[in-house]
């Protein structure tokens, strides 16, 4: 099986380049991460990429696979067209090979204050929710912050410092939708202006690539609806 990988080492290369590799005897059902590990172990140990859990939970190995962002560890090589072209997630600075600098992504994540804000005195027992209230968090809390969605969003490419991006906005809605959170007003106010939320034009690239099948576009729509409700 043929692979074309994006390579860039800032210490030795002046420009990034694509390098071809060939792997023989790939077992059916092999995941892309394992194929990359084989290339690293058998052919070129200088190849660098992030990975950890190997089962789509940690969100480390987000990369651009044949033009579409995804997690290498949950992408079977059987489903990929040859040559498999792997590039780093687009839009962020490359540190080396497939490793990108995600600082901007996490800065925007912190902006939405991804934690519960409770103003009442904290009770001695846990803050309770009804099963219905808890159900509202399904499809939101599962996000693993791999960055595939934000790095597939043109609005995030153009304005990464001003537009929060689908991942951060999904988390914003996760806390707005939480019955225990008491900072709805402040959260909504912080999202006002033409950039932070409203650079989203609902093109749904985020939904298309999410390896956890989440729907940031719907979450963004819900935030807009809540803003509208609070305005009247």
């Amino acid at each position: 099986m043929r692979f074309t990988l994006y390579r860039f080492n800032p210490e030795t290369d002046s420009e990034p380049y694509m390098k071809d590799y060939e792997l023989l005897n790939i077992e059916p059902g092999t995941m892309l991460r394992d194929a990359l590990l084989r290339i690293k172990n058998e052919q070129d140990e200088s190849l660098s990429f992030r990975h950890s859990c190997g089962e789509g939970v940690c969100g480390s190995d987000g990369m651009n696979i044949n033009g579409k962002n995804g997690l290498a560890c949950v992408t079977s090589v059987d489903s990929l067209k040859e040559p498999v072209t792997i590039r780093p997630l687009p839009g962020m600075p490359v540190i080396r090979d497939l490793i990108i600098d995600m600082t901007q992504f996490f800065t925007q994540y912190h902006v939405v204050k991804p934690w519960l804000i409770v103003k009442d005195p904290i009770p001695d027992v846990e803050l309770k929710q009804t099963p219905e209230q808890r159900d509202k968090l399904d499809g939101l809390y599962e996000c693993i912050l791999c960055g595939c969605c934000s790095m597939s969003c043109p609005s995030f490419w153009w304005n990464p410092d001003k537009f929060l991006g689908p991942a951060a906005l999904l988390q914003s809605w996760r806390f707005l939708a939480d019955s225990r959170d008491q900072a709805t007003e402040e959260r909504l106010e912080a999202l006002e202006g033409p950039y932070k939320l409203f650079r989203c034009h609902s093109i749904m690239n985020c939904v298309d690539v999410c390896p956890k099948q989440l729907n940031p576009t719907k979450a963004i729509g819900n935030i807009k609806k809540l803003m509208l409700k609070n305005m009247v």
Binding site: S155, L191, G193, P194, L197, R199
Partner: protein, 114 residues
Amino acid sequence: MSYQAKGLQAWFLQRVSAVFMACYIIFFIWFFLNTEQMTYPIWLNWFSHPLMNIATGLFLVQLVIHAWVGMRDIVLDYIPNDAVRLITLTCIGFFLIASSLEMIRILFSLSFNV
């Protein structure tokens, strides 16, 4: 219609104006197709009717708002340089204000002609 701090309003106005303009355009085409021979007196009479005159005035206001929000979106998305961004937005603003003044002049001249 300021460029800062108008995320929700701009988004909302864009949608409301789109719905209004869609209704106006459908009515406009329907009336046009249902008039056997569109002559200048019929046209003038139609546009001089207070309801049509006001609806057209509203249409033009909504068109300007819709165009402003849409053009602003394009500029914010595709022009990264702050200075170029500001100059482009100013030019678009001037153009839209000039167009609306011209449209108001035409509408008023229709109202006073009859």
